[in-house]
């Protein structure tokens, strides 16, 4: 790597770093010192989120050229969006709705509502600081939540129990993706004592009747929100949001086409963190479309110049289940140590049906289809075959060498599936690593323990 490239890489890092801090500082400047202090007092997790620029170091460390640019751009998208979300703590709070991650936020945006995804803190905080949700997990367990419940709903419940939740006025949730998640909303409802609406996602979703049923559920949700919040559905706005989402999805498909190349032009966070944020938190945001176009352009430029994201890419893998929240640098270490490239994860892999925006009905059906057949929904409910079919499809489609499963100890839905998966992989001759760990709690299996599992796998199975 030449000196000029190194300087360019440093410039990318510091440019993004400065922009991010500008965005982070906007919040106290806008709210003033009194409100800021009050916010920090009411929501102590803000201290953790203020460290969000750490994410930039994590995802750019050891990455060069377009790969570094791509990862920096992803963090550059997350930070201002996050700061906008944090404005919801004090602005238009009568419109603030707490929603579960399986509820399509597009509808809430179109109704002019402000959103707070209840799982957001449980997802983002351990990414920024590995140990940051341990406190909330302990609070939930001390309140009687069984220790074997998934640590993500446990951390969400901990935030609620500790009275650190933003001033939300209504709750919309669903019966997905797991029992732990579902059960947490009963506690949230009891604790906050505000109206709640629960979407009923059908179990068998591969037919028109199921889509119609769930689209009707979404209609019911809109009616309920109009009754219990100041939000009013603007169907034209919903159409615009869905059209923007479609554009973003089209660029993501281009990006996926690019990463099929061996070696991959981009990898890891550029693929999965971008999806996690843009499709779940801010769908319909034009800056998300721009980001995916940029990522796709960077990937294609790398292909054109015969540059791989990971120098000397040796192995390609998929990560099944959500990414290791408290140890997202696992793959930057794996890249360096083994030339192992994370091509995609299961949370990013949605079949990406485009939403037909011609009528209100078709829009709702499109959104219904996305939710019903989305990752987690499709993998932790319904036939076990969904889990395996997707995984083996990705294995072939992206020309992978192995499958990694993030064997989150709290995910009972996938614990049984993994036993069958072992047998299937053995029969197909696919190397499989099931990483024993907890999604959000590094006290269960430490980073060293996770690395040890990776090392043993690479040494014994891949003979590295």
């Amino acid at each position: 790597m030449g000196v000029i490239s190194q300087i360019q890489d440093q410039i990318i890092y510091y440019q993004t770093w400065c922009k991010n801090y500008q965005n982070i500082l906007k919040m106290p400047l806008r709210h003033g010192p009194y409100q800021t202090l009050q916010n920090l007092n009411n929501y102590p997790w803000l201290w953790n989120l203020a460290k969000v620029n750490r994410l930039l170091s994590m995802v750019t460390k050891g990455r060069e050229g377009n790969y570094r640019k791509a990862n920096a751009a992803v963090v550059g998208k997350i930070v201002p969006n996050l700061m906008n979300l944090l404005n919801n703590l004090v602005e238009d709070t009568d419109r603030l709705v707490l929603h579960e991650d399986m509820v399509p936020p597009e509808i809430l945006f179109a109704m002019g509502l402000k959103t707070w995804m209840s799982e957001l803190l449980g997802i983002l905080m351990p990414i920024v600081d590995s140990h940051s949700v341990e406190k909330y997990i302990d609070i939930a367990e001390n309140a009687g939540i069984p220790p074997d419940v998934c640590s993500l709903p446990k951390s969400t419940m901990g935030v609620i129990l500790n009275k650190e939740v933003p001033p939300v006025k209504a709750i919309v949730t669903s019966n997905s993706p797991c029992d732990g998640g579902m059960a947490s909303y009963q506690l949230i409802k009891n604790k906050l004592d505000i109206p709640i609406f629960q979407l009923d996602v059908p179990y068998n979703f591969y037919n028109e009747r199921a889509t119609d049923y769930f689209a009707n559920e979404l209609k019911r949700m809109v009616k309920w929100l109009e009754e219990y919040t100041p939000g009013k559905m603007d169907w034209d706005h919903l159409r615009e949001i869905c059209e923007e989402r479609n554009k973003m999805a089209a660029h993501e498909l281009e990006l996926w086409e690019a990463i099929r190349q061996r070696p991959a032009p981009l990898a890891a966070e550029a693929i999965y963190l971008s999806h996690l944020w843009c499709f779940n938190i801010t769908p319909g945001d034009p800056s998300g479309t721009e980001l995916f176009k940029y990522l796709s352009d960077l990937a294609n430029e790398n292909i054109k110049n015969n540059i791989s994201a990971v120098p000397n890419e040796k192995y390609r893998t998929v990560l099944w289940n959500p990414p290791l929240l408290h140890f997202i640098d696992l793959f930057s270490q794996a890249e360096k140590q083994y030339g192992l490239t994370l091509i995609i994860d299961s949370m990013s892999y949605n079949r990406q049906p485009f939403i037909d925006t011609s009528t209100k009905e078709s829009i709702l059906k499109g959104l219904a289809h996305i939710i019903m057949t989305g990752p987690m929904a499709r993998h932790t409910r319904g036939p076990a075959q969904n889990y395996f079919d997707d995984m083996f499809y990705l294995y072939t489609y992206f020309d992978l060498d192995m499958i990694f499963v993030a064997g989150h100890i709290g995910c009972k839905n996938t614990a049984a599936l993994n036993g069958i998966l072992r047998e299937k992989c053995r029969n197909k001759g696919i190397p499989l690593l099931i990483i024993d760990y907890d999604l959000s709690d590094p006290r269960v299996v430490s980073h060293d323990g996770i690395m040890q599992q990776l090392d043993r796998f690479m040494e014994n199975i891949m003979n590295k």
Binding site: G419, R422, R426, R456, E459, N460, I461
Partner: protein
């Protein structure tokens, strides 16, 4: 080549093992108790293995040496180190080419290894979090019975029935066994219960990787006849006893690798 010596040194948690081979097979071998310092263990066991050959051979005369086991990075004179899982697979495969499944019961962990048709590791599963079912567990049990480990290993062979020992944890199992002995239950029947509970754990581990015949056992607990009988009953498959001391299998596999590496195979 026939005169060149190749060695494997397996520094385990409880014992150190060394095997020295040449083109004609095993020339020297040794086992010793592990010291606190893995390097010291390696030095002692290598010296002993050299002495077992005689003719003034010293560790410096070994052409290629591979370290394995938990202390593999501390083996002096080692040209490289390889994981014990890979070495056990190669060792067992080199002894019996039809080996496809290995249960390795060491002093402080248990591993199930699926072996390919070239001696490579296809899959593995291990329990290194819990002492139940390891060599240390058997030592604890033998201690309760006031027996040495080899006498305890054969005790269950005299059992008329199996008294189940249901505790999953070695500490609770100890309490359970003491209670059973206090109730004057037949010690052989209790010992059969202990062997059966360990066999169940091994079976669960083996199921993870898929059980394919030929199944064999390696590690320090491979001399435990009671355990082998209980395992065979659980697996409904015979466990093939290896022609080389199974406790040495990691070191032997490492020595085979050493020879192969030197020859560029």
């Amino acid at each position: 080549m026939q005169n060149k010596l190749f060695a494997g040194c397996d520094v385990g948690s409880t014992t150190g093992k060394a095997v020295i081979i040449n083109g004609n097979g095993i020339q020297g071998k040794a086992v010793c108790q592990s010291e606190i310092d893995p390097e010291e263990t390696a030095n002692i066991v290598l010296k002993k293995a050299c002495e077992s050959i005689g003719s003034g051979i010293s560790p410096q005369d070994i052409t290629y040496l591979i370290g394995t086991g938990y202390g593999r990075r501390e083996v002096p004179f080692a040209n490289e180190n390889i994981s014990e899982i890979t070495c056990h697979a190669m060792g067992a495969f080199s002894c019996l080419k039809d080996t496809r499944t290995i249960i390795d019961i060491g002093g402080q962990d248990v591993k199930a290894i699926s072996v390919g048709d070239n001696g490579s590791v296809i899959d593995f599963a291990m329990n290194d979090k819990c002492a139940a079912g390891t060599g240390r567990f058997f030592e604890m049990m033998a201690n309760i019975f006031r027996m040495d480990i080899s006498t305890f290993s054969n005790l269950s062979l005299q059992a008329k029935k199996i008294i189940p020992v249901t505790s999953q944890c070695s500490v609770f199992a100890e309490t359970e066994v003491i209670t059973l002995l206090a109730k004057r239950k037949n010690p052989a029947d209790i010992a059969a219960g202990i062997q059966s509970s360990v066999a169940k754990r091994c079976f669960a581990l083996l199921k993870k990787i898929g059980i394919q015949p030929l199944v064999t056992i390696t590690g320090g607990c491979s001399n435990n006849k009671g355990l082998i009988k209980a395992l065979e009953s659980k697996l409904r498959l015979p466990i093939q006893i290896l022609p080389v001391d199974p406790q040495l299998m990691g070191a032997y596999g490492a020595a085979v690798f050493a020879m192969k590496k030197h020859l560029g195979l």
